[in-house]
Symmetry: C2
Subunit: 202 residues, 2 copies
């Protein structure tokens, strides 16, 4: 198992293409293995069919690749949430669509999602050096959509309610991946239950 594919050399000026291939391969590796540490330069290189040092033309070090993968994942999620919201006019329908899209994304790329929202180590590390880093702010951005949608639906205590909904969505997304053997209710059922009970300020 030396190389999965033989890589075709890019043309003059198109070297940047390899950058995308590297990020895509890293994301695929992360999704397949579910292990951030399994995403090594050498495995990425092997998957693409290039030599490992070629990566250094595009990234200063391994960590930069991981960060690029995270940035891509967050951008995807954000785009999906945005699209889901725009598809409806009614605030309640928007909220439903938002939750649905959130869980669908997490189910489609479970490990990318888990690493993106659960990488305690790097968050802990980077939080010491530079608080409010990319991850935190983009996580906050995804969250702010939910806050806004929930605020539109229910007049009272929007922040706490939104936190409760987000927290439950994240918990469902995480646990269905971590403990698949459990008899989980359907996505739609849990969303209906959550939204139904949460949005009413009785």
């Amino acid at each position: 198992v030396t190389a999965e594919v033989q890589h075709r050399r890019n043309k003059r000026g198109e070297g940047a293409r390899l950058r995308e291939e590297i990020v895509a391969a890293a994301a695929a590796l992360l999704e397949q293995t579910g292990d951030e540490d399994a995403v090594t330069l050498r495995r990425i290189a092997r998957q693409i069919g290039i030599a490992a040092p070629s990566i250094y033309r595009h990234f200063p070090d391994r960590d930069a690749i991981i960060k690029a993968v995270m940035a891509t994942a967050f951008a995807e999620l954000d785009a999906i949430l945005d699209a889901a919201q725009r598809a409806h006019d009614d605030p309640m329908q928007q909220l439903h669509a938002l939750c649905q899209a959130y869980l669908t994304y997490a189910a489609d790329k479970p490990h990318c999602y888990l690493v993106a929202f659960g990488r305690h180590r790097t968050t802990a590390r980077s939080a010491a050096n530079d608080p409010g880093s990319m991850e935190d702010s983009t996580a906050a951005q995804a969250f702010n959509r939910l806050v806004a949608a929930i605020t539109r639906c229910s007049p009272g205590l929007p922040h706490q309610t939104a936190v409760a909904v987000w927290v439950a969505l994240h918990g469902y997304a995480s646990l269905t991946t971590s403990v698949p053997a459990f008899p989980w209710p359907e996505r739609r059922q849990i969303i209906e239950l959550l939204v139904d009970r949460m949005h009413r300020v009785t």
Copy 2:
């Protein structure tokens, strides 16, 4: 940095003591680093002040140590939940205490908690070989306490409601650790909100 402490040789028949020290050191390492892969035989040995091969008197391989740490964590959590529940007679107070205890444990040992309930890789791996493994069943055990407590409080749809509560607790526990920069509500507030809205079948 060769050895943190010089380890005193155990007396004849008391060799089993080292086993506990190994598990404790591994748990401490996991909690400090937040990274399962940082728990290496050599680091454990260094922390205790023994030679790395000495570990093989007590564990067949590295994986067995990690499993022992997980088993200990689950046992602790279960004992804590049990104690919280026994401290009250009223079902509603029991439920509150249970949720409180759950979140307190997760806050005290955040990384142990996260790895125990979020180790997607090993769960994925072992689920292939032996479905319904130790982790799953013990996770289910912790969960079944919640189901029982919630069932006692509310007559309708206990399973889905219990899932919603557990899922929200897990999400809160995970995200407060992963995204500490966020303006999280207090533990008590989120519990009151959850229990209050969830247990009423309107």
